[in-house]
């Protein structure tokens, strides 16, 4: 079969072109470290990577949400534990004042103690996190409770609303991390204030009632605290899940996107070798013809 000179030159040019193309691809692979540089390298893998990137970004956002949630929950728990201490102390006072051996002057003094507790409770009920009141429902710019008078308190007015502040932890899930202050504190405030006025007015029957009321209120606070605990557990679980998922997604993304460096360098070396071989053989071939030998 006859092969024209022209064919040899054309074929050489063609093959060299293909080898340089391979060489170029291998170089790109090694220098970027990624096997997906254009959508056409692996269209399906490429779209999967895009989807994974979105998922990872969303999970990081959820992590930020849970971080905020935990701050709120911790602040609430701390405040309410202190409230429990106050209730216990108030009950002690009430118990000791309910007996017959107390008289009006002792009770008056005790009333001042209770007044002190009421003021403390007011400031605890107005706890703030990052400048926001956590017991005001969603009216976080408004002070939750205000006593009508510091000297002789008779009522505590709630100015928040009844929708608890929540954070989003998943597509359709929100967790309440704030509180409806009314439900938590109102009864407690009225019990403490009645105790105060009963002590001032030397009313032993009222003081007796106060002990029962304070017991009930203590239970309310306890159940609120355990509610906070439960939500804290949920958030911790969520955080673990997010960490695992995030890792999984990132691994998937790396598998699809990143080039195996060893393989890439091997390919690069092979392409270089092929290129050198092609160049030297073409050089030899193109020079020879019968003309040289005549």
């Amino acid at each position: 079969m006859r092969v024209a000179q022209k064919t040899i030159y054309d074929m050489t040019r063609f093959r060299l072109g293909m080898i340089t193309d391979d060489l170029n691809n291998a170089t790109t692979l090694v220098s970027t470290g990624k096997r997906l540089n254009k959508a056409e390298d692996d269209p399906i893998g490429y779209t999967q990577v895009l989807s994974l990137k979105s998922n990872v970004s969303y999970l990081e956002q959820i992590k930020r949400n849970t971080g905020t949630g935990k701050t709120w929950l911790n602040a609430g728990e701390t405040a309410l534990s202190s409230v429990q201490d106050i209730i216990t102390q108030a009950k002690t006072v009430a118990l000791s004042m309910s007996g017959g051996n107390a008289d009006s002057s002792v009770r008056s003094a005790a009333a001042e103690q209770i007044r002190g507790y009421v003021l403390q409770m007011e400031s605890l009920a107005n706890t703030r996190v990052q400048g926001q009141y956590i017991f005001s429902g969603t009216k976080t710019d408004t002070q939750a409770f205000a006593l009508d008078s510091q000297q002789i308190p008779t009522t505590a007015t709630y100015s928040g609303n009844d929708v608890a502040y929540s954070i989003m932890t998943a597509k359709d899930t929100t967790i309440e991390v704030g509180h409806d202050g009314d439900a938590v504190f109102s009864n407690l405030f009225s019990s403490m204030i009645s105790l105060y006025s009963d002590l001032k007015n030397n009313n032993p029957a009222g003081i007796g009632n106060a002990i029962d009321n304070l017991d009930t209120d203590f239970d309310t606070i306890t159940s609120t605290i355990s509610g906070i605990g439960a939500k804290g557990v949920r958030i911790n679980t969520k955080e673990k899940i997010i960490a695992d998922l995030s890792l999984r997604y990132t691994e998937n993304q790396a598998e699809l996107e990143d080039a195996d460096i060893v393989e890439a360098i091997t390919q690069l070396k092979a392409a270089e070798l092929a290129y050198q071989a092609a160049l030297s053989s073409s050089a030899k071939l193109m020079q020879m013809s019968l003309v040289d030998f005549l």
């Binding site: 006859r2 024209a4 979105s54 970004s57 954070i167």
Partner: protein
């Protein structure tokens, strides 16, 4: 030669696909995928701290960012189109030049006799032919007189004998100039060469991705606006609010850009805060946005009394008692008539017929009528109702879209010539009816008009298409809402609710709500499902615009307090500034499934669309995926064609090209033969000399 044409076409399309991919930029942090994720995340950050100023600024900035990115993408795609047009212009003049050169060579070769043909010129002509094949697809035939005829695009002559014809580019279309001066548009018939690569890129690929990016942008704008319009910022608005979307001149609410998204089974609700007392009090105004359950019928024998001559009656339901049930409740109709300026008010009290200026409108018992609905009836010269009846059929090319029609020159169907202009989200067009034509084809749909109906100039109607492309027509003579009827109805509802806020329409067909003294206004609440009217009018919306190029953030939100992260408590009308429910609802949009159109463009036929029900992120990823697949396919095709070209060239060269070795051997053979022959000559010469010298 075919392979050359195909290879060049694939190579050009493939290299421009790379440029297209770069415009989308998805392997960097500037891709739309990443920016959209950041946008949704900024709403979640806001939900963690609704009163926080940096979080609000972040939401605003991310909104601006995505709007800008979409606009940049549109500009980049437009630039690719311009590049294509420039390349095509350059090519067309090259085609003309080469065709001219072939014709000249033909001229020289025709004259030569068969034995004396100049092979040099024939080679040159062949070379020119290959050059031409790279540019356009060609077929060539050798004629008996020695000339070469060259045709393109399946049968249009470029070279015939000694004459050449040329191509021109006009309005983006490639035209073939015939010898009589006529031109034929051959844009869709070119199937090879670089020009086909560019035309494919321009007319099929770039247009498809532009349409899909626009579909995504439109759905994105609507989804965010709808949810945002139902929330409230850090305060009620205490100054007038003007909507950012306008109707067309007919004022039909259907003609709003998102008019087809309005759900007329739901209502419109506004909350009004009275700040003259402390603490503020709240009241709500609700307007029932329903459409009456049936149109009236007009007895054929009856007619309007009005002045002689053609006129248009506008009839609005202005008041109902109870449920607005015909035959049970009292329904008040207010009518006016355009030619003579007559008007009046009629009541249909526990009846099914009402007399409007001499014409009895009849309803069926049990029909439910809604206050605020309006309709328009055209009459002929005798006062008879001649509302146009339209039956659309077929499948529209653009699904989930709103086609808006305006009559530019009116007349009676089946008698006069009527011209109608139409537009949808992607394209515009027009059609004409005349005495013999009462049907029209519009973008895949067939519109059949009943003869006898009359269109007045500037009449309007709309057609909405569902997810399968099925059209539904809404005529002026069907009950509908207009800006006027809504404004009137809202103001009536506001008065009943005892608030001072008023609605009005602007000269540009937008709506304005103005609070009364010491009043603030807000929209929606946590129990309310909105009809979508608020968002469609552009009230309390986050984005402006209708597609990837026009999207921008509502300028009202420069005051970041109006970014609506909270929802109003339906029980009280008040809300907490730490409420984040609207922000989380907006963030959740990224997970919701939406219906969007996927497009197919083919040169030579209409673009068609089909529905894809996926989340917006998935839709975008599908765009990138199909781009990648197309790109890979083109690369492979180009490689394959290149190899085939190589093979065939090899085979041709095996037959016709020169092998130096062969020629050298032949040369030696002839040289030896010559040497021997000359040897023979000298021997012969010697023999002769011997003879001559013999005595």
């Amino acid at each position: 030669m075919d392979y050359t044409s195909d290879y060049e076409a694939s190579k050009e399309t493939s290299s421009y696909m790379n440029i297209l991919e770069t415009a989308f930029n998805e392997n960097t942090e500037n891709g739309i995928n990443t920016i959209m994720s950041q946008f949704w995340n900024s709403w979640l950050d806001l939900s963690n701290n609704p009163t926080g100023s940096p979080e609000r600024v972040a939401v605003y900035e991310k909104g601006v960012h995505i709007a800008e990115r979409l606009d940049t993408l549109t500009n980049d795609l437009a630039r690719i189109e311009t590049d294509m047009n420039n390349e095509i212009t350059a090519i067309i003049s090259s085609v003309g030049t080469i065709a001219g050169q072939i014709a000249e060579l033909n001229n020289t070769l025709i004259g030569q006799q068969s034995g004396n043909v100049s092979l040099d010129m024939m080679d040159r002509r062949n070379g020119l032919l290959y050059d031409l094949a790279k540019l356009v697809d060609i077929n060539s035939f050798e004629q008996p007189d020695g000339s070469l005829s060259v045709l393109t695009a399946g049968g249009f002559n470029l070279v015939s004998g000694a004459t050449s014809l040329s191509l021109t580019l006009s309005g983006g279309r490639v035209l073939w100039e015939g010898s009589m001066g006529s031109t034929v548009d051959i844009t869709d018939k070119l199937t090879g060469g670089k020009i086909k690569g560019w035309l494919e890129m321009r007319d099929e690929i770039v247009t498809k991705y532009q349409a899909e990016v626009d579909s995504l942008a439109k759905e994105f704008i609507w989804a965010v606006n709808y949810q945002h319009s139902q929330g409230v910022g850090q305060q009620y608005a205490d100054s007038a609010i003007t909507g950012t979307y306008a109707t067309d001149s007919s004022e039909m609410l259907n003609t709003l850009a998102f008019g087809h998204k309005i759900d007329y089974t739901e209502d419109f609700k506004m909350w009004v805060e009275d700040t003259s007392v402390s603490p503020s009090t709240f009241a709500s105004v609700t307007t029932d946005m329903g459409l009456s359950s049936a149109n009236p019928t007009y007895p054929g024998a009856d007619s309007f009394t009005a002045a002689a001559g053609q006129t248009t009656y506008t009839i609005t339901i202005t008041n109902i008692t109870g449920n607005g049930e015909a035959n049970v409740d009292n329904i008040e109709f207010t009518w006016s008539e355009s030619a003579g300026g007559l008007s009046g008010v009629e009541n249909m009290n526990a009846a099914t017929t009402v007399d409007i200026d001499g014409m009895d409108l009849t309803f069926a018992a049990g029909d439910l009528l809604v206050a605020g609905n309006t309709l328009k009836i055209n009459t002929d010269g005798g006062g008879n109702d001649v509302a146009v009846s339209l039956t659309p059929s077929g499948t529209a090319n653009s699904i989930l879209d709103n086609y808006k029609f305006t009559v530019s020159s009116g007349g009676t169907v089946g008698t006069n010539t009527i011209t109608v202009n139409w537009s949808n989200s992607f394209t515009t067009g027009s059609f004409t009816l005349d005495a013999s034509t009462t049907t029209a084809t519009v973008d895949g749909m067939t519109l059949t008009f009943a003869a006898g109906g009359r269109f007045a100039t500037n009449d309007a109607f709309t057609i909405e298409t569902d997810s399968t492309g099925s059209p539904t027509a809404y005529m002026m003579s069907d009950w509908h809402w207009t800006l006027d009827s809504f404004v009137t109805q809202f103001n009536a509802d506001a008065t009943v609710a005892g608030v001072g806020v008023t609605a009005s329409k602007t000269s540009t067909d937008n709506i304005t709500f103005t609070p009364g003294a010491n009043e603030g206004i807000a929209f929606g609440d946590d129990q309310f499902t909105d009809s979508g009217l608020t968002a469609a009018l552009g009230i309390n919306t986050f984005f402006n615009g209708i597609d990837a190029q026009t999207i921008s953030v509502n300028s009202v939100l420069v005051n970041k307090d109006y970014i609506a992260a909270a929802q109003i408590d339906a029980a009280t009308g008040d809300y907490g500034v730490g409420d984040s429910r609207n922000a989380t609802d907006i963030a959740n949009i990224q997970h919701s499934t939406r219906s969007m159109a996927q497009w197919t463009y083919a040169r030579g036929s209409d673009a068609t669309s089909s529905v894809l029900n996926v989340s917006m992120a998935n839709y975008y990823q599908t765009i990138i995926g199909t781009m990648g697949i197309k790109s890979a396919e083109l690369s492979l095709t180009a490689e394959y064609k290149y190899e085939m070209m190589g093979r065939i060239t090899e085979q041709r060269d095996n037959l016709s090209a020169v092998s130096l070795d062969e020629e050298m051997i032949n040369l030696m053979k002839y040289q030896q033969a010559y040497t021997m022959a000359s040897k023979l000559l000298s021997i012969g010469d010697e023999m002769l000399m011997t003879l001559i010298n013999a005595k």
